[in-house]
C-alpha cells in the first residue's frame, strides 16, 4: 500500500477514477489529474484499478494486458526506466469496424500480441505459457487534453488503452526482429522492427508477468498480452481503412467510421 491511498482511504481514488471513466464514456478530454491531485505511481495504479472496476460493474470482462513505454525513446521522453501496464477488457476488442465518433483523439499503433494458454504466476512462466503470437494494433485514446500527461496520469488512465485487434494466431516463433508496416488507405504511415519493443517483444511479455505478479494479478489462459508499440502512434481518422502487416504473421485490418 502507498501513503496517499492509505490517507485518502480510497475515496479520492474512486473520485479520480470516476473523472477518467466519465471522460471515456462522454468522449470528452479532461485536464490532467496531477494538475490538481498529488498522485504517485502506486496511487496511480490504484486509480487504474478503480477505473477497471467501474467497467467490470457494467459487465465488461478483463481479457488481457497491454504494455506501455516499451521503447527506449519513449522511456527517455517520459523520464522513466520501467515499462507500465494497463488492462484490456472484452469491450475494447475490435473485430473489424471501429466507430471513432465516441472517441476523443484516437491514435493507432502496430503491435505484436501474445495469446496465453496457461496461467502465469511469474516472469519465469511467461514464455512457456504462450499459445500463439499475432500481429495486432492498439487504439490509444488518452482521456487527457492534448494527449498530454505525466507518468502517474497515464497509468491512472489505464495507459491510454481504448481498443485493440489482432490477426490470426500463429505458433510462437522468433519475433525479435520482425518488420512491421502500418498502412492507412493503402499508404504506409509507420514502419519499424519488433526489436523496438524492449529489444524483443518476449521481454515485454516477461515484464508483464513481473508487473502482474507484483500487483497480485495472475495472467489467465485466454488472455492477450499486447507487447507494446513498434513505431510511434499515428492519428486514427474516421472513414479510414488501416492494415498492419508483420513478417511471417500476416496482417490485421480495421475500418473506422
Amino acid at each position: 500500500m502507498n501513503a496517499l491511498a492509505e490517507t485518502l482511504e480510497g475515496g479520492p481514488v474512486n473520485g479520480l477514477a470516476e473523472i477518467l471513466d466519465d471522460a471515456a464514456l462522454a468522449g470528452r478530454a479532461v485536464p490532467r489529474l496531477t494538475d490538481a491531485a498529488d498522485l504517485d505511481v502506486p496511487a496511480a495504479y490504484e486509480v487504474q484499478r478503480a477505473v477497471i472496476e467501474r467497467r467490470l460493474a457494467r459487465g465488461e470482462r478483463v481479457i488481457g494486458v497491454k504494455m506501455g513505454f516499451t521503447s527506449r525513446a519513449k522511456m527517455v521522453q517520459m523520464g522513466v526506466d520501467d515499462v507500465i501496464w494497463g488492462l484490456l477488457t472484452d469491450a475494447m476488442l475490435v473485430e473489424s469496424h471501429l466507430d471513432t465518433a465516441g472517441l476523443i483523439h484516437p491514435r493507432i499503433e502496430p503491435e505484436i500480441a501474445f495469446l496465453l494458454e496457461r496461467p502465469v504466476r511469474g516472469p519465469a512462466d511467461a514464455v512457456a505459457a504462450v499459445g500463439g503470437v499475432a500481429v495486432g494494433y492498439e487504439v490509444l485514446d488518452s482521456r487527457y487534453e492534448d494527449f498530454s500527461f505525466t507518468l502517474a496520469d497515464v497509468i491512472a488512465d489505464n495507459a491510454s488503452a481504448s481498443g485493440f485487434g489482432h490477426g490470426p494466431w500463429r505458433p510462437l516463433r522468433d519475433v525479435g526482429n520482425l518488420g512491421l508496416v502500418m498502412e492507412i488507405d493503402g499508404r504506409p504511415v509507420a514502419s519499424g522492427s519488433s526489436a523496438a519493443v524492449l529489444g524483443d517483444p518476449l521481454r515485454s511479455l516477461t515484464a508483464a508477468a513481473r508487473l502482474a505478479a507484483a500487483a497480485g494479478v495472475e495472467l489467465q489462459p485466454g488472455w492477450v498480452v499486447l507487447a507494446g508499440a513498434a513505431t510511434a502512434a499515428v492519428p486514427l481518422p474516421a472513414g479510414a481503412h488501416v492494415r498492419v502487416s508483420a513478417a511471417g504473421l500476416g496482417h490485421v485490418e480495421v475500418t473506422t467510421r
Binding site: G176, V181, S191, G192, A195, A247
Partner: protein, 267 residues
C-alpha cells in the same frame, strides 16, 4: 564550368588526403548532373590509380532523408574493392571522415543489367544472393553540411562497407518486411524495416540499374549493390563496436579502433 568541376574534385581529394573535412562544394557545382560529373572525375582518377570498382551504393533511399534534403529521388556512389572491410574487423581512426553507420541489404549480381528499363524480375533474375551489410558512410564536407549536390559530388558520402558472409537467395527472404536492428554494447541504437528503403530494397536496385544504364556504365555480373539504409543512421565514436541484424539475412559487425591518445588525455 569544367574548371569548377575540377576545382570541386580537387577540394574533395584534398580532404581525403589531409584527413581534414573541406568546405561544401555546392559553390562550384550547379545541379545534380554537374555533381555527378564531379563524382565521375573522382571515379576516373581512382580507377586510373589502380582501384577496382566493386559495385555501387544507393543513398537517400528514405523518405525522411529525401525530405530533409528536399529531393525526390535517391542517389548513388561508387564502391571500390579496397572499401570492403571483413566482418568484425577494426577500422582505424581516421579511415572515414565523420563516420556514421547504417544497416542495409547488399545484393551480389551474377548477370549484367544492361537494359534501358529494368523490372523487379530482371533484378531478381540477375541477383545471385543477398547479404546483410553495414555501410560506414562519411562526409569529406565539414560538419556534414551537405546539399544534394554536395553529397553526390562526394561519391554519395561513401566510406567503407562490411558484408556478412552467409549468402541468402532472394527466394528465402522477405526483404519488404525484414526487420533491422543495430546494437552498440547491447544497447539498441537503430531499428527499421525493408520498406524504409524506397518501399522495398529491390525497388532501389531497379532505380540504380536504370540510372546506370542511362549513363552508359550499367551494373555488371559480380557487382555488389548496397541498396540503402533500412533505418536511421547512427553516429559513431572511436572504440564503438556495432552489430547489425537483418531478419532472414543474419548479422554483421563493425568495430572502430580506440583513440589511444584521446583516452590518455581523458585520464
Amino acid at each position: 564550368m569544367t574548371d569548377n568541376h575540377e576545382a570541386a574534385a580537387a577540394r574533395l581529394l584534398e580532404a581525403y588526403a589531409s584527413g581534414r573535412p573541406c568546405e561544401p562544394v555546392r559553390d562550384l557545382v550547379d545541379g545534380v548532373e554537374a555533381a555527378y560529373a564531379v563524382q565521375s572525375l573522382l571515379t576516373e582518377r581512382w580507377l586510373a590509380g589502380g582501384r577496382r570498382l566493386a559495385g555501387r551504393k544507393i543513398g537517400l533511399t528514405s523518405r525522411a532523408v529525401q525530405r530533409q534534403l528536399g529531393v525526390g529521388s535517391p542517389d548513388f556512389g561508387a564502391l571500390f574493392a579496397d572499401m570492403a572491410v571483413p566482418d568484425g574487423e577494426e577500422i582505424p581512426a581516421g579511415a572515414v571522415l565523420q563516420p556514421r553507420v547504417e544497416a542495409e541489404v547488399a545484393l551480389v549480381l551474377e548477370r549484367d543489367l544492361p537494359h534501358e528499363r529494368h523490372t523487379v524480375a530482371d533484378v531478381i533474375h540477375a541477383t545471385a544472393f543477398a547479404l546483410p551489410a553495414i555501410e560506414v558512410v562519411g562526409s569529406r564536407i565539414r560538419d556534414w553540411d551537405i546539399t544534394l549536390a554536395d553529397t553526390v559530388a562526394d561519391n554519395a558520402s561513401s566510406g567503407l562497407y562490411v558484408l556478412g558472409t552467409r549468402p541468402v537467395p532472394l527466394r528465402d527472404v522477405d526483404l519488404r518486411l525484414a526487420g533491422m536492428v543495430i546494437e552498440r554494447r547491447g544497447e539498441q541504437v537503430s531499428t527499421g524495416v525493408g520498406t524504409a528503403c524506397l518501399g522495398h530494397p529491390l525497388h532501389a536496385a531497379v532505380w540504380l540499374a536504370d540510372t546506370l544504364a542511362a549513363l552508359g556504365s550499367p551494373l555488371r555480373a559480380g557487382d555488389t549493390v548496397l541498396t540503402g539504409a533500412l533505418g536511421p543512421v547512427v553516429p559513431v565514436a572511436p572504440g564503438d563496436v556495432l552489430e547489425a541484424r537483418i531478419d532472414g539475412l543474419g548479422d554483421v559487425r563493425v568495430a572502430f579502433v580506440q583513440a589511444g591518445s584521446e583516452q590518455e588525455e581523458a585520464r
